[in-house]
Symmetry: D2
Subunit: 359 residues, 4 copies
Amino acid sequence: MKAITVNPPLNGFEYRDVDIEEKGTRIRILENGICGTDREIVNGQLSSAVPPSGYGFMALGHEAIGEVLEDSGPFRKGDIVMPVNRRGCGKCLNCLLGRPDFCETGDFIEAGIKGMHGFMRQYIRDSPEYLVLVPPDIRDIAILAQPLSDLEKSLEEILSVQGRLYWKCSDGTYGCRHALVVGTGAIGILFALLLRSRGFSVTISNVRDATGLEATIFSEAGIAFFNSSLGYAGLKPNDKFDLIVEASGSDASLIPSLLSLLKNNAVLGLFGFSRSGMANLTSIDLQNIVYKSISVVGLINGQKPHFEAAMRDLVQWKHMWPEVSRSLITREIDVNSISGMSEVMYRKMPGEIKTKIVW
Amino acid sequence: MKAITVNPPLNGFEYRDVDIEEKGTRIRILENGICGTDREIVNGQLSSAVPPSGYGFMALGHEAIGEVLEDSGPFRKGDIVMPVNRRGCGKCLNCLLGRPDFCETGDFIEAGIKGMHGFMRQYIRDSPEYLVLVPPDIRDIAILAQPLSDLEKSLEEILSVQGRLYWKCSDGTYGCRHALVVGTGAIGILFALLLRSRGFSVTISNVRDATGLEATIFSEAGIAFFNSSLGYAGLKPNDKFDLIVEASGSDASLIPSLLSLLKNNAVLGLFGFSRSGMANLTSIDLQNIVYKSISVVGLINGQKPHFEAAMRDLVQWKHMWPEVSRSLITREIDVNSISGMSEVMYRKMPGEIKTKIVW
Amino acid sequence: MKAITVNPPLNGFEYRDVDIEEKGTRIRILENGICGTDREIVNGQLSSAVPPSGYGFMALGHEAIGEVLEDSGPFRKGDIVMPVNRRGCGKCLNCLLGRPDFCETGDFIEAGIKGMHGFMRQYIRDSPEYLVLVPPDIRDIAILAQPLSDLEKSLEEILSVQGRLYWKCSDGTYGCRHALVVGTGAIGILFALLLRSRGFSVTISNVRDATGLEATIFSEAGIAFFNSSLGYAGLKPNDKFDLIVEASGSDASLIPSLLSLLKNNAVLGLFGFSRSGMANLTSIDLQNIVYKSISVVGLINGQKPHFEAAMRDLVQWKHMWPEVSRSLITREIDVNSISGMSEVMYRKMPGEIKTKIVW
Amino acid sequence: MKAITVNPPLNGFEYRDVDIEEKGTRIRILENGICGTDREIVNGQLSSAVPPSGYGFMALGHEAIGEVLEDSGPFRKGDIVMPVNRRGCGKCLNCLLGRPDFCETGDFIEAGIKGMHGFMRQYIRDSPEYLVLVPPDIRDIAILAQPLSDLEKSLEEILSVQGRLYWKCSDGTYGCRHALVVGTGAIGILFALLLRSRGFSVTISNVRDATGLEATIFSEAGIAFFNSSLGYAGLKPNDKFDLIVEASGSDASLIPSLLSLLKNNAVLGLFGFSRSGMANLTSIDLQNIVYKSISVVGLINGQKPHFEAAMRDLVQWKHMWPEVSRSLITREIDVNSISGMSEVMYRKMPGEIKTKIVW
């Protein structure tokens, strides 16, 4: 079958015939999403990328939907499904509980990233245990469920962390809580939407003005936008936050200014991977973490329950925020288009939110 | 009555007669503990210290036990009690729930520190709501319950934060979890003891060898000691930690090396107040927080339930670790001893764990 | 204005002009739902029904949607909203936290039921704090959000209770958990749908065959139906349940047989109000509760966060289960139709799921 | 070696030589406790009692302390330890998490009760994983840790169940919560002490007056006693409870009156095994469970973390309540005393709290 393959740590990718031995339910891949991690691998920048043992290549791709080709377990022929991308180490308790997002050994494998072939290929075989049903209503945007699953998990984790105190409001909701999402990539926008749909007041920022498409999205979903090119000093003096999610992978030097924007008992969630710079925290910054009971939490990887929640949310958003939903997939590329694929696989295009590959 | 008073931001302290208007149950103070915060105030270094409104001075002291002078609420004349030191803002939900440790407004008051007279005086009056009964069995070491209450709260918060994953071991205990406590002051030692008594495997470190007294304590309680004067590289290569508690207030530059000692899903709890230096985190440090699902949590202030837990633990420790318990109070000073008081109020003595003032 | 009024403990209802003094945002009522509690009041059978003080009547109705007539707080003129029906006692902690569903004093008030005028009238005034936005997409079925809010709270409570053990499955979801919902009224069907949408395997039962409409609903949503007219012995021998929700208000004598269907660690949730019969539990029944770590939980009343969740779920269900959504409102009645109103206010019609009154 | 053996379902017991093949650390048994379950087996009344496969007898006993005979794992020769009595099924998630108290399959085994030899014998071998260290300070009362472990788990479970609402008081403690413990056997008294030590206000009841010994215990620990021989009508009209623990195994007919004593949001915990009677609940009783958000929870079996907690509490109680601790072991019997053993193994003696067998 055809596949998009990589050979880390080498850069580049190929579209070629491959032989992969697998067991499980046969699935014909329909679409893949491309994300920053894919591009890091293609650019030879992700040192943790490792092909599966016994192979001299790795099929890329951890965002996919496909069509089930045979009745199997709870699935019927013709069902559209999404495979979960991280699989457990088989040893630690969290992996036994279906939660390799909290793998203790680090020996988990991850499709298209570490020790497991990815989903950018014509067919995969997989166990029903790792497949999540796609509601037909969101066939067009379901590819977003994989990145969204990471955020469902992240928000679940944040709310769990905040169980350390009483963090709801006097009406029992989160309506009084103000969140800042840093970054307007796919992750930033999806995280902002998720927080809005859970009732948070949300501001999203980038170091430039919002594009027209972004403005449409933020307006419909009731999200405030802030241009932070001159820093956050321009926010109203009392505009501090109960939650900040770093979703931009900005230079690490951003962190101290984000810490200074936090209210008492707030959370700084780190989702983006800073690739440059230093976060130079003064002793006063550290004292403030203590005095203000602040928590900083690393956020990574959703699992099956989070994929299920992502599907539910996408259905809801599609109809609650129709403009938003129409705006999130900014480009579709035919996998056979050599020039198109070369264009999208190496770097994010201006205005891109999510690019998907169609088989 | 006589009181130890301060007048922040001025440095120094006085032992003098004062008039303080209060309501509530009459209590004769028996003992006070001295901690680093008291000394910062006496040295004019705690910028957040503020006398109660309407007074040109503030009685110092937030660690005290006293004798109830009249039947009142659940207390009988002659009972020994400890007053809780932080009081709520009366506005936010967490303060209404008796948890000003998570005050949202920052308008809480704190005995001997901020907006409320402290307990270093002959008498106080207080509401039974803020008093905690001292079991007679621990009359001698009960003064430790105030600092310990902060740690009871801290551990409760850490366990709550770790509710984000499955953090117990395959036997349902915390026996497989390895904690590092940085610092062998009163806080460091009490935190290490608390973690031991909850079943954690515990290492404690200082930048020098353990004193003889410390060695006795660590040996009886089964705590490992590590001299980190040359950094932590000397730890066994795989000796990483599920929990690190910074309890030394070391130079901030210590933080990056602590982060590098954390296992997947670990917690770095910040209790000590760094007064100097910079924590310069690289982008790799930040990435590790994400990849390893690490949480950094500011830890501060225990409330009434934590004082109650501290009393229970002190009773238990006294008899489980008799040497430990005999070793924790390293000096008693008569409040009338001018030279003695001058000696203990300004700085920590070599070998000091807890110094108490006796009325 | 016109209103449907009652005068408990008298039976009957009137459609008449009333004067009600209220403060807050003006809202024009569009629709009301009718539920079993309304009918109990109209039939003079709800002894706890009490008019608001100072009035010789009570406007009925606790299920309503209306149009906001003026900009107010987060709402704009023209928004469709649903008012929350229970309001706190103003005294206990749970009411201060926006959770009068867990009122400790019992002094809460409840629209159209106890001490507060209901929503079956042309206009209400209310504080934005108690209003929940209705997404335009579900304008047609939004009246279901009030009963559904009770179930959102119930499921949240059940999952919280089950936090006593590890109750998820080896894939991190609830997919291995089997629930039985007893009763196919509006509550039973909505509860079954809610459990399905959260991934549970669900069986629903009634003491007759499913109607054609019910069969359509259960088929689309993947819910099994069981006719329990001859008891539950006909279930497969090993078909026991992790969760049973009594949503029928059946004769109390049903309870022992439900208990016998529970697996280890299971929950029996009581939502329906039994009006007759006795639940005669043997000592063996009680022993089984102990040996099997069973929990029985009374389930009542959702609050604002649950109304918000209900709105999200209704949007999702409408598009995931379009047949289901079209089937749930079985009758609309014009409030001016004297004969129609007489027909629907006193008793449930055969085949009724939810009847709504249109203003 | 010598052992006390049974052969269920036959009644009677023998003191005789046995050969038992086991692996693990060698332990010399010092003491056993006797409880109601042991006596049921000896009287041939526990239908669930089953010898280990391949043996025509079963060593009795699930309460034991012993001396470690060789260094092993965390234990040193000479350490006193208590073995955990229930062991997992090896299949379900809760057993893999070290929590066979919530075994899903029911295939757990239990020392001296079901499929595993008990501890009433000269020696056992066991894995350090199932051994809990006994602090030397409580060598005399440590046998109580096994029954207490069940209660530690029970209280943990009750507090977890009550996480469904805000159940603490306005000072953050449980001081405003009023508990009733039914029964003054070992379990009832230990449960009452545990609740007291956690700050609850506690009433304990029996259908007779308190014995002198009981009166001493209740007085020192601040527990109120109520003689319920004429029912609970004699309690003050407003004396309702937030928590009732049935620890008497009374006739099931007691249950309806206990339910009527519960406040809103209360818990009825069932620990004792009713052996007779019927709990005849009216539909009004069931309605009250719903209206008042009551939870009924079956409480059984503590695991290793609960044994550890029990050890800590026993140390604390010994010194906080010295009279109590001296009163709990009401009889010691030499295992070689034929007449003595016959007396204690079949029935509870008047005034007995805990009888222990000494080897």
